[in-house]
């Protein structure tokens, strides 16, 4: 059953906290695979970078329970910026902070509102990194995902999954993989893979909320 058809609005702070801690668990589980992907076309640290960052996010959320969805994303984004480093730290940090800022201090938000805010967040990532769709970066998973999000969480996750797989035949034009030129072709982009984890955690958090 499609989640969109069941309920309106009401993604509360608890939902956002769950989303972020779900992402943290997924990153922890998949860290070695992310590092492995980064080792093929990057510098073999994406998994450990995100694990360090999201472990700190989970700790921060427990430490200072955020008052609103926007505050939860803002805290997570700031934590990523100050704990991850690398390219993914500022990029994921910007995604979450910017999305959080768009949500303001509303106590609950609808999926449509989240989709609009995330779209702004993803635009900020594109602006910061100077990348576009097709450059073989996290954007190739994030952009399709936010486009599909108004439809449903599941559609967003499917779009992210397709987007991530779609980076395999691409030649990288941004990030470290771009140094490889033609040799970047044939490998999945690690950032696209981690973006899928983020979007899949969103879907799972929704399903959990539904139970």
């Amino acid at each position: 059953m499609e989640d969109g058809s069941r309920r309106v609005a009401e993604l509360d702070t608890g939902f956002f906290v769950r989303w972020l801690t779900e992402t943290a668990s997924a990153v922890d589980r998949e860290a070695d695979r992310l590092t492995e992907l980064d080792s093929a076309i990057g510098d073999a640290d994406h998994g450990s970078n995100l694990r360090r960052g999201f472990t700190a996010v989970t700790a921060a959320l427990t430490d200072k329970p955020p008052p609103s969805p926007g505050a939860a994303l803002g805290l997570a984004g700031r934590t990523l910026v100050s704990k991850v480093g690398g390219a993914s730290g500022p990029l994921y940090g910007t995604l979450l902070r910017r999305t959080g800022r768009e949500l303001g201090d509303a106590a609950t938000v609808s999926r449509e509102e989240l989709a609009r805010a995330m779209s702004t967040g993803v635009e900020a990532v594109a602006a910061l990194g100077g990348a576009a769709e097709g450059d073989k970066t996290m954007l190739d998973a994030l952009l399709p995902a936010v486009r599909a999000l108004p439809e449903s969480f599941t559609a967003a996750r499917r779009a992210a999954a397709e987007g991530a797989v779609g980076t395999v035949p691409m030649r990288a034009r941004r990030g470290r993989a771009s140094y490889l030129g033609e040799r970047s072709i044939g490998h999945e982009d690690p950032g696209a893979a981690s973006s899928l984890l983020l979007v899949a955690a969103l879907e799972r958090s929704w399903e959990a909320a539904d139970e």
Binding site: T35, E36, S39, A40, I41, G42, D43, A44, D45, G47, S48, N49, R52, V81, S82, K83, V84, G85, G86, A87, S88, G89, P90, L91, L128, G129, R171, A172, R173, R174, G175, R176, S178, Y179, L180, G181, R183
Partner: protein
């Protein structure tokens, strides 16, 4: 892959503790991962701050001291530092004369240092930035993240550091650093991959009998794989890549040369390679004024080498010879 470590996630912290123990002339803030000169801030002096992922030692912390960097902020292995670190190094070393960040051109470094610049300005610290992008192996820079910063960083830090030590103002130090960055060209070759603590093994496969040309310093594979060559042949490929990029101007001025080991190539081999590099340069009519041979900008335990050439005039040569006193580079004082 066996490593002399306690645990992958403790590597940088442990190294900083060990630096603190070995170098009383440095202030090492292990918790916040910042290394600064003990006498910082130096009144009236522009502060030079650099940083980047760890794994390239002695770069950058090994270059903190009189005549070079005021502060360094080491990130995790091959991961650029976070903005807080760069900000802290800047704030702790700024005498009011401003801070110049020396940033190697990698997406992560650029983004994190840019964020640090904004934060610094917010705190009333005048900050400027110079990008090092010297790696000629990155071609088509329109379709890439641009040229990587590698060995040229040492020249930027040394020469701008000498200018800052002499009391030049921020604008002058920044302009000089930019000039030096523009005068540097690097090219690297790997005979083996490196192993990162996080991965616990080699970052790529390199079959026996092959080498990688045009590698970076982050354990990434290079642009091209070829059958193993002699030291003389590698010197030819390397020098020609540099000279092709320099164009006709290469015979107009003398150069500083860095013949750099990537980490596990013995010094015995590096010196032998230097002989070949010098031979090829001489054959092409290029004059070398000063040479540095050793492991300065490394990629953990990668076997291989890189060559950096930095075109100099009288002023830059004087700044090169000026006193420097750091853990890894020291002369004249």
């Amino acid at each position: 892959m066996k490593m002399l470590i306690n645990a992958p996630e403790r590597v940088v912290e442990d190294a900083l503790r060990g630096m603190a123990a070995a170098h009383p002339e440095l202030v090492v803030d292990v918790e916040n991962r910042v290394v600064i000169r003990r006498d910082a801030p130096v009144a009236g002096k522009v502060s030079l701050v650099s940083g980047g992922g760890s794994g390239h030692e002695p770069l950058h912390a090994g270059f903190v001291g009189r005549g070079m960097l005021d502060g360094a902020c080491p990130g995790e292995v091959f991961t650029s530092p976070v903005p807080d670190q760069a900000l802290r190094a800047a704030a702790a070393t700024d005498s009011g004369s401003g801070v110049l960040f020396v940033v190697k051109n990698y997406t992560g470094d650029v983004l994190n240092f840019d964020m640090a610049m904004e934060l610094a300005e917010d705190e009333g610290v005048r900050a400027a930035r110079v990008l090092v992008e010297d790696d000629v192996a990155v071609t088509d820079s329109l379709f890439t993240a641009g040229r990587r910063g590698t060995g040229g960083t040492l020249f930027v830090e040394k020469l701008a550091g000498a200018a800052a030590e002499e009391g030049a103002p921020l604008e002058t130090v920044e302009a000089l650093a930019r000039r030096v960055a523009g005068a540097c060209r690097s090219y690297g070759v790997a005979l083996s991959p490196c192993s990162t603590p996080a991965k616990g093994g080699p970052t790529f496969d390199l079959p026996a009998g092959e080498l990688e040309l045009g590698i970076g310093i982050h354990g990434e594979p290079g642009r091209e794989r070829r059958a193993m060559m002699t030291s003389a042949e590698i010197a030819e490929v390397t020098v020609d890549a540099l000279l092709e990029d320099l164009g006709d101007s290469a015979t107009e001025h003398p150069f500083l040369a860095l013949v750099n080991g990537m980490g596990s190539t013995p010094l015995l081999e590096l010196y032998g390679f230097n002989a070949e590099v010098r031979r090829v340069l001489a054959a092409r009519g290029v004059v070398v004024a000063r040479t540095l041979v050793g492991n300065y900008v490394t990629s953990l335990d990668m076997a291989g080498c890189s060559v950096t050439l930095c075109e100099v005039d009288e002023e830059l040569l004087r700044l090169w010879d000026a006193p420097v006193s750091t853990a890894a580079l020291r002369w004249g004082c």
